[in-house]
Amino acid sequence: MIRPTSLRDLVLIRLGVAVNLVIGQIVAALLLPVYLDSVGTILVAALVGPRAAITVGLVSQVLNAVISGNFSWLPFALVQVVIALYAAAAARLGLFRRFATAVPAGIGMGLLAASCSAPISYFLFGGVTAGGVTVVTTVLRALGAPLGVAVASASFATDLLDKAIACALVSVVLRSLPGTLAARFPALAR
C-alpha cells in the first residue's frame, strides 16, 4: 500500500473507500445494471492525485473482500490501480470539468479497465466471477461465441457503461462542489 502524504489525504482516502463500498447500496435501490464501485477512486484521483487514488482502490478491494467474504476477487485489485492512474491523468487534463468530456473519458477508462479485467477473469477464473457479467458471458457462450470472446465482450460491455456513468457522476460532484470546499483541493485548480 502506498503511504499517504498528509492527514487530509488519509481522511480523503477513507472517504473514497467508503464511497466505493456504499454507492452500491444506491445502485441496488435503482436496479441499475452497473457496479459504480470505482466512483471513490476516480473522485480521490481528481481531488488529491494518483498515489492516494491507488490506495483507495487497493483498500476498497481488500475491504470489499473482507465484508463480502469473497476473497477470490482480490486479483482484480490490479484493475483499481489502472483506474486510479487513468483517472488522475484525465483529471490533470481537465476532462472531468465538463460532462461532455467526462463521458468519453469514462468510455476510455472502461476500455482500459476491461482490457485488464477480461484476462484476469479468463485466465484465473475461467470467465466466472459470479457477477452480472458472468451471466452475459454465459449467454454469449450459449449463443456459440468462443469462451475468450464471450468473456472479453461481457467485460467490455459492462465496463464501458459502468465507467462512463462513474466518470459522469464524478464530474457532476466536482461541478457541484461549493467554492469554499473546492478551494481546499489544490489539485482541482490544475
Binding site: 503511504r3 482516502i13 472517504l15 463500498l21 435503482l30 467474504g69 477470490s72 475461467g126
Partner: protein
C-alpha cells in the same frame, strides 16, 4: 458467518501475521496449481486450516454458500457449454475437459474463500493492529484498515436516510433506465458532498489525537511472536515460490 469468533485455538493464539501468511499462501498457491488432484489437496489443506482454528463448521458453511453460485456458473459455462469430447451423464452430455477445468477453478475459489474466512474468524482485529503497531507500521495504514470499517455503517445509514428523504420529496426509483440514471444524482450527490464537507472536522480530530506525528508508537499488548513462527512464514513464502517455479517449469516442458 463472516467475522472474528472468540476462541483459544492454535490459530487464535498464533501471531496474526502467521495466520494471515497461511491464508495468503492458500491464495497464491491456488493460482499455481492447475490439475484437479492438486487443487483437491489445496481444498483439503484449507479444511485442515479451518479445523485447526476450530471454525470449520461456520467457515465451511459460509464458504460453500459464497462459492455455490460460482460452482453452478462454472458447471454451466464449462461443463455444459465446454469443448469436446463429451461424456453422457444421465440426460446431459458433459464436456470432459470442461468438467476438469470447472473442478480446478471451483476448487481454487473454495480454497481461497475458506482460507480467508478462517483467517477472519481467528485473527482478532485488535491483535492485528497491536502487531502492526509493534512492528512500526505507520499509523496511517492501521487507521485506514481499522477505521474505514467503522465508518461504513454510518455511511450506509446516511445513504438510507437520503434515499428515504428523496423519495418523500417525490423522487421515483423505478421507470426506464434513463429515469433511473437521472435519479442517481439526487441520491449520490448529497452522500458524497456531505462526506466531503466533514473532511476538515475529521482532520482536526485526528490531529488532536497526535496522528500527524511520525514518532513510533508503543503497542500496549503486542501479540507474542516466536522464531518458529517467523521461520514458518518464510517457509510458506518459499513454498509458494517453489509452486510457481514448478508450474512454469511444467509449462515449458
Amino acid at each position: 458467518m463472516i467475522g472474528y469468533v472468540d476462541g483459544t485455538s492454535p490459530l487464535h493464539r498464533a501471531h496474526p501475521y502467521t495466520t494471515l501468511a497461511l491464508s495468503g499462501a492458500l491464495l497464491f498457491g491456488a493460482f499455481a496449481l492447475t490439475r484437479p488432484l492438486e487443487v483437491g489437496l489445496l481444498v483439503l489443506t484449507a479444511v485442515l486450516f479451518a479445523a485447526t482454528g476450530r471454525v470449520l463448521r461456520s467457515s465451511a458453511q459460509t464458504a460453500l454458500l459464497l462459492s455455490l453460485p460460482i460452482w453452478i456458473l462454472l458447471f454451466v459455462l464449462h461443463g455444459l457449454l465446454g469443448a469436446e469430447p463429451r461424456m453422457a451423464f444421465g440426460p446431459v452430455a458433459l464436456s470432459v475437459p470442461g468438467i476438469a477445468r470447472a473442478l480446478v477453478l471451483g476448487g481454487r475459489v473454495t480454497a481461497i474463500v475458506l482460507g480467508f474466512l478462517t483467517a477472519l474468524a481467528t485473527v482478532s482485529p485488535h491483535r492485528l493492529v497491536e502487531a502492526m503497531t509493534a512492528d512500526g507500521v505507520p499509523f496511517g495504514r492501521t487507521f485506514l484498515l481499522a477505521s474505514t470499517l467503522t465508518v461504513l455503517p454510518r455511511m450506509r445509514e446516511r445513504a438510507t436516510q437520503i434515499l428515504e428523504a428523496q423519495q418523500c420529496r417525490g423522487l421515483r426509483l423505478g421507470g426506464s433506465i434513463v429515469a433511473r440514471l437521472r435519479a442517481l444524482g439526487p441520491l449520490a450527490l448529497p452522500l458524497v458532498l456531505g462526506a466531503l464537507a466533514e473532511v476538515d472536522e475529521q482532520v482536526l480530530a485526528l490531529d488532536a489525537r497526535g496522528a500527524a506525528g511520525s514518532a513510533r508508537r508503543t503497542a500496549l499488548d503486542p501479540p507474542p511472536d516466536s522464531r518458529a513462527q517467523h521461520a514458518l512464514r518464510w517457509a510458506l513464502l518459499a513454498l509458494v515460490a517453489a509452486a510457481y517455479a514448478w508450474k512454469f517449469w511444467r509449462m515449458r516442458g
